[in-house]
């Protein structure tokens, strides 16, 4: 992280990301189930999205001119829930109901349950197609909102993801911004061992996309990429965000075994102590 910098916006985003990470650890420990590593790794990106980049009204979640943020990799939803709660879409204390019976915070996100959720997801590979549909409607209706879609790298194993990448490139959908969480892990291990994806940037480029790569924990890089995305007129944009799964907690970082499990009470306590030192 760029802690040495004094830029007040970046300082605020760093603090926001810390709050999001704390929420993720508390939610998952309380729920006794859920996916930790991916959610922690994307906290900086979600802080930048919800507290700098996206145009929305939390009191009017279906405001027609809002930017749409679709989460394709539904299993990292704790990061989305934490960001939405902190952005005021629903009461912050509701985070503690994650995965419980009757909760609006389902184990994988459901559009019909919770304000701020644009798409139901969980089964991988379905988000980008829906984002394309929304981006096409924006063009059809001559609206200026943009459509962001957060994908995991693992879900690039799915054929549907490539159907969508091929289509969007051909349609030159410049109001579509895909953000790939390139954390290099999936359930069965490292992506390059399970089904190698490299060179991912070259693949997107070959399919007609404008490719940006960032350190997903470096706010000035993230914000620069968002600014650059606004200038692209004739292509969809993909931001490949290189992230560290479990970022912020030493014993979780880069460990595939933290993909799909929650911290125990003791692990959560230790994680929160580490985070507080950041």
């Amino acid at each position: 992280m760029d802690s040495a910098q004094v830029d007040p916006q970046i300082f605020q985003l760093q603090h926001r990301a810390l709050l999001i990470r704390q929420d993720i650890i508390k939610m998952l420990a309380h729920a006794h189930s859920g996916h930790t590593a991916g959610a922690m790794g994307m906290a900086d990106i979600f802080a930048a999205l919800y507290f700098s980049e996206l145009n929305y009204r939390s009191h009017q979640p279906r405001w027609s001119d809002r930017d749409r943020l679709l989460l394709s990799a539904g299993h990292i939803c704790p990061v989305l829930y934490a960001a939405l709660a902190q952005a005021g879409f629903f009461p912050h204390e509701e985070l503690q109901t994650l995965r419980q019976l009757g909760s609006r915070l389902q184990g994988h996100p459901s559009r019909t349950y919770l304000p701020g959720i644009e798409n139901s997801s969980g089964p991988l590979g379905q988000g980008l197609s829906q984002a394309i549909g929304m981006a096409l409607v924006a063009k059809l209706d001559q609206k200026n909102y943009r459509v962001f879609c957060v994908l995991s790298d693992g879900e690039h194993d799915e054929g549907q993801t490539w159907e969508a990448i091929l289509y969007a490139g051909q349609k030159k959908l410049s109001n579509l911004i895909a953000i790939v969480d390139r954390n290099r892990i999936q359930i069965d291990g490292f992506t390059e061992d399970v089904l190698p994806l490299e060179s991912l940037a070259d693949k997107y480029q070959a399919f007609g996309w404008h490719v940006l790569e960032v350190d997903g924990h470096h706010f000035s890089e993230i914000l620069t990429a968002f600014a650059a995305a606004k200038t692209i007129q004739d292509k969809p944009i993909v931001i490949i965000a290189h992230t560290i799964p479990g970022k912020g907690v030493s014993f979780m970082e880069n460990k595939p075994e933290w993909h799909g499990k929650p911290p125990t009470a003791e692990e959560a306590k230790q994680a929160l102590q580490e985070l507080n030192k950041l």
Binding site: Q126, L136, L166
Partner: protein
């Protein structure tokens, strides 16, 4: 009853009835919707002409989306469009959509209650020469298990036209099952149609035939023969909406006849017959003969040859009616 339904005046004269496929009803209704409803958009996966989407495509190119041979992306894009206020009609062959993209239909569409209309063409044996891979015989089963999804199988051209129009007005996902082959048009533009309502095409007292799709016309011919030659009074119910099922019309009829034949160009497992059996088992246990595919794939051949080989002709229906009438008397 014929009068109230405004059926064709030549109902029992098949050679006098004109013929068109139910997919043509889709194409013509979609074109009309293009004119009347600016929110209607259409998508197809490299099957524009044979799903009859091309009529809409030619008139409303800005609202038409060709996605290529990519049925998962097809239905996902439609979901995104629906969640942003459009009414997307997604047309392909049923073996591909909802066959290949069932998970996307389940999560992107049904779970989100996205207002997508799924048009499955080329269902049933009457697909003909293309053979088993292209003859959808399982689509009712895989769609009627999905929460929030309405399932419709129109009986002829006009009913398809009306079902498509009704689907556009219905808020929520709808699957419409269509056929390739031209079949007798026995309803008219004036025949009333509403989602969830069955039609008693012919009243009777001894046996109830319940069917969906163009095959129901064969049931009418069979019923007339049975009345003439076997003194059996057969009620024929067209059940275009498989989900939600019109339980009231079904139970009213079976309370009278106490014997049922179900008829569909679909596997008997999971189809209309199963839906009927579920209702009757719970409310009014009744002998049923299930006419449909009995755990087998189709094959190549002419439509009429296939209907004969797999026991879907009027004479096979007559046999089933006699059989269930005999079971009732035991």
């Amino acid at each position: 009853m014929t009068k109230a339904l405004f059926l064709s005046p030549h109902l029992y004269q098949p050679t006098l009835l004109s013929k068109k496929a139910t997919r043509d009803g889709y194409g013509d209704a979609l074109l009309e919707l293009g004119r009347t409803n600016p929110n209607v958009v259409a998508l197809t996966a490299d099957l524009s002409e044979s799903t009859r989407s091309n009529l809409f495509q030619e008139s409303f190119p800005n609202r038409f989306f060709e996605v290529g041979v990519a049925e998962q992306n097809l239905i996902g894009m439609a979901a995104g469009m629906a969640l942003n206020g459009k009414i997307p009609f997604v047309a392909s062959y049923a073996v591909f959509s909802p066959g290949r993209n069932w998970d996307q239909l389940r999560v992107s569409v049904c779970y989100s209650k996205a207002n997508v209309k799924i048009i499955g063409c080329h269902t049933g044996l009457t697909v003909g020469e293309d053979g088993a891979t292209h003859q959808a015989l399982e689509d009712i089963a895989i769609t009627r298990v999905l929460p929030n999804l309405t399932v419709i199988c129109p009986a002829d051209y006009w009913q398809a036209f009306q079902a498509v129009t009704a689907a556009a007005e219905h808020e929520g996902p709808v699957y419409i099952r269509l056929t390739r082959a031209a079949s007798q048009i026995f309803t008219t533009a004036r025949t009333p149609f509403a989602i969830g309502q069955a039609q008693v095409l012919r009243p009777g007292n001894d046996v109830t035939i319940i069917g969906c799709g163009p095959l129901i016309y064969e049931a009418l011919l069979a019923a007339e023969q049975l009345e003439k030659h076997s003194h059996l009074s057969v009620e024929v119910i067209n059940m275009p909406t498989i989900k939600p099922l019109d339980e009231r019309t079904l139970l009213n009829s079976v309370n009278k006849t106490h014997a049922v034949v179900t008829l569909e160009e679909h596997q008997v497992v999971g189809g209309l017959g199963s839906a009927v059996a579920e209702v009757l088992a719970e409310n009014l246990p009744t002998p049923i003969e299930f006419m449909g595919m009995h755990d087998s794939f189709g094959e190549s051949g002419k439509a009429n040859q296939l209907l004969t080989k797999y026991h879907f002709t009027a004479s096979h229906i007559m046999h089933a009616v006699r059989k269930v009438a005999a079971r009732k008397q035991k």
